[in-house]
């Protein structure tokens, strides 16, 4: 028997496959509720999970229950049945009759119409929102980050839509919530303003390590601001996955193009045998020249994905 002849018995326990239970997801959500829509009652039945730092977009036609879902999560609407757990804390469990009031749920909610307090100045809105146990510096920090310092003593009525939006966002974050909930936050703004505010949102998301849920029916916004998309149709999730897997046809994906963006066709012109397609992308108009065959499936208003390789722009209709 040599030193090398180690009987299996003498071996230390072989390392077992690591079957540790999945770490609990940061957010677990499941809920049902009957929605009263214009086309009659409809059941909302949704479940999903989200990791810490995730960016989930809830996309779908109006009346699908997107906003109701956010409201159930924030406790502003009650679910018929449901279970919500955030960071190990149970917010809702209808079987155990647990329903944490909204004010005890650590959320920042940006409402569609902003819901700013008319009688408070920008700074006062943030001071009001700030959790009094946290550092007061956050107000100054947010004013700086959102470029609101010069507006801090103004009331909402004197602010533009984009400025109000920034205040609403800053106010939602002032209490350092665990979840940031955005209900069609950019729908009231024009494209250029949308694009700018998406920048602010991304900045905020990273800076404060937020977990974000975004409700939107604006595709470019969804593609830019989320890392996971859930398509909600008639009260239930019809598709979910990463934005690129969900919205781009397999043949188009993935092509590592140096330039790619998403937009909407605003004009189609015919010139010297070619079609000139004008696409509005993030506030800028892009002209792309295509042959008749390439332009065959395009129409004004269609949402497209524009890529360019070696100075050749390609327009791909979104699925």
């Amino acid at each position: 028997m040599t030193d090398f002849d180690l009987a299996p018995d003498n071996l230390p326990n072989p390392p077992r496959a690591h079957i540790a239970a999945d770490p609990k997801p940061f957010l677990q959500f499941k809920a049902t509720k009957t929605l009263h829509t214009t086309s009659g009652p409809q059941l909302l039945d949704v479940r999903f999970e989200l990791p810490k730092g995730g960016k989930l977009a809830i996309y779908g036609p109006s009346g699908a229950g997107k906003t109701t879902l956010l409201r159930i999560l924030s406790g502003l609407t009650t679910a018929t049945t449901g279970y919500i757990e955030v960071d190990g804390e149970v917010w809702l469990d209808t079987t155990r009759r647990i329903d944490l009031p909204t004010r005890h749920r650590s959320i920042g909610f940006v409402f569609q119409d902003f819901a700013l307090f008319p009688h408070l100045t920008v700074r006062q809105q943030l001071e009001y929102a700030r959790d009094k146990t946290t550092d007061g510096k956050i107000v100054a920090e947010l004013l700086d980050l959102m470029e609101l310092e010069s507006l801090q003593h103004l009331r909402p009525a004197l602010l533009s839509g984009g400025q109000q939006q920034r205040v609403a966002l800053a106010r939602a974050i002032a209490r350092r919530p665990r979840l940031l909930l955005l209900d069609e936050p950019l729908s009231a703004l024009d494209d250029e303003m949308r694009y700018k505010l998406q920048e602010y949102l991304l900045k905020i998301h990273l800076h404060y390590e937020l977990t974000t849920l975004l409700v939107s029916h604006h595709l470019p916004e969804v593609l830019r601001l989320s890392d996971k998309v859930m398509v909600l149709e008639k009260g239930s999730v019809s598709r979910e996955g990463s934005p690129s897997a969900l919205f781009f046809a397999p043949s188009q994906n993935p092509s590592p193009a140096p330039f790619q963006t998403v937009g909407e066709i605003t004009a189609i012109a015919f010139s010297e045998g070619n079609y000139i397609i004008t696409v509005l992308c993030a506030g800028t108009l892009i002209n792309v020249t295509l042959t008749a065959a390439q332009a065959a499936h395009l129409a004004i208003g269609k949402k497209v994905w524009v890529t360019s390789n070696d100075f050749h722009a390609v327009i791909n209709p979104l699925v």
Partner: protein
């Protein structure tokens, strides 16, 4: 020379009534505006009754209730030695009932006119209902609060039927300006009656001017007029 005492009495009654009414009407208005309780409609109807009821009807029932010879009045008299019929405190209680809708209704309208998400936004910021009421809702219905206060003040000054039934016109105690005017007419003293009438007329006009001024400033009509 005019006897100012009835006018001062009217002012004192209106001031006390309005102060108490504001304290009552804010929680009551909040409940009426936001509760989904099934009895809410009944409560609204009861509160608004004095707006359509002849004041003498209200006065009659209050007089019965206050009467020291029976029921509630006797219980008060027996246990607390309190008599409300033909006394100033009795007038205050009657005025509270009589002017309640004039304070409550503008406040309810004010709460209902605020966007629902204002209250929701405050909740999502971790604020209690009390903090939300005091810091967010009340400052935004200031015009309704002022309107409610001014209207109940003016309405109390102008009441006649109820104070006549409950107060009986005892000088210095329950003889308010409107009753004094009536007494002067009864004793054919038209000159004095005219003075009371003019003071009350001018006062009412100024009050209404004030209410409409407030409403114009806020750009919204929140009165119940």
């Amino acid at each position: 020379m005019i006897d100012w005492q009835p006018l001062w009495l009217s002012l004192r009654l209106a001031l006390i009534t309005t102060t108490i009414l504001l304290l009552l009407a804010i929680p009551l208005g909040y409940w009426l505006a936001y509760s989904r309780h099934r009895w809410k409609i009944a409560a609204e109807a009861v509160i608004s009754l004095p707006m359509v009821l002849p004041p003498t009807v209200l006065g009659f029932y209050l007089l019965l209730a206050f009467s020291p010879s029976q029921g509630f009045g006797r219980w008060l008299d027996h246990h607390f030695n309190i008599r409300l019929a033909f006394t100033f405190p009795g007038l205050v209680i009657a005025s509270l009932f009589y002017s309640l809708p004039f304070t409550v209704n503008p406040i309810v309208a004010g709460f209902r006119m605020l966007p629902a998400d204002l209250r929701n936004a405050s909740r999502t910021l971790g604020k209690s209902d009390w903090t939300t009421l005091v810091r967010i809702l009340l400052p935004n219905i200031r015009a309704s609060l002022i309107t409610g206060a001014v209207l109940s003040f003016a309405h109390t000054i102008g009441e006649f039927g109820v104070v006549m039934m409950i107060g009986g016109g005892i000088p210095g105690q329950t003889r308010v300006a409107s009753v004094a005017l009536y007494d002067e007419v009864q004793s054919m003293n038209n000159g004095m009656a005219n003075r009371y009438a003019l003071v009350l007329l001018a006062f009412s006009f100024i009050i209404l001017l004030l209410v409409y001024g407030i409403n114009q400033q806020t750009g919204k009509s929140k009165t119940m007029l």
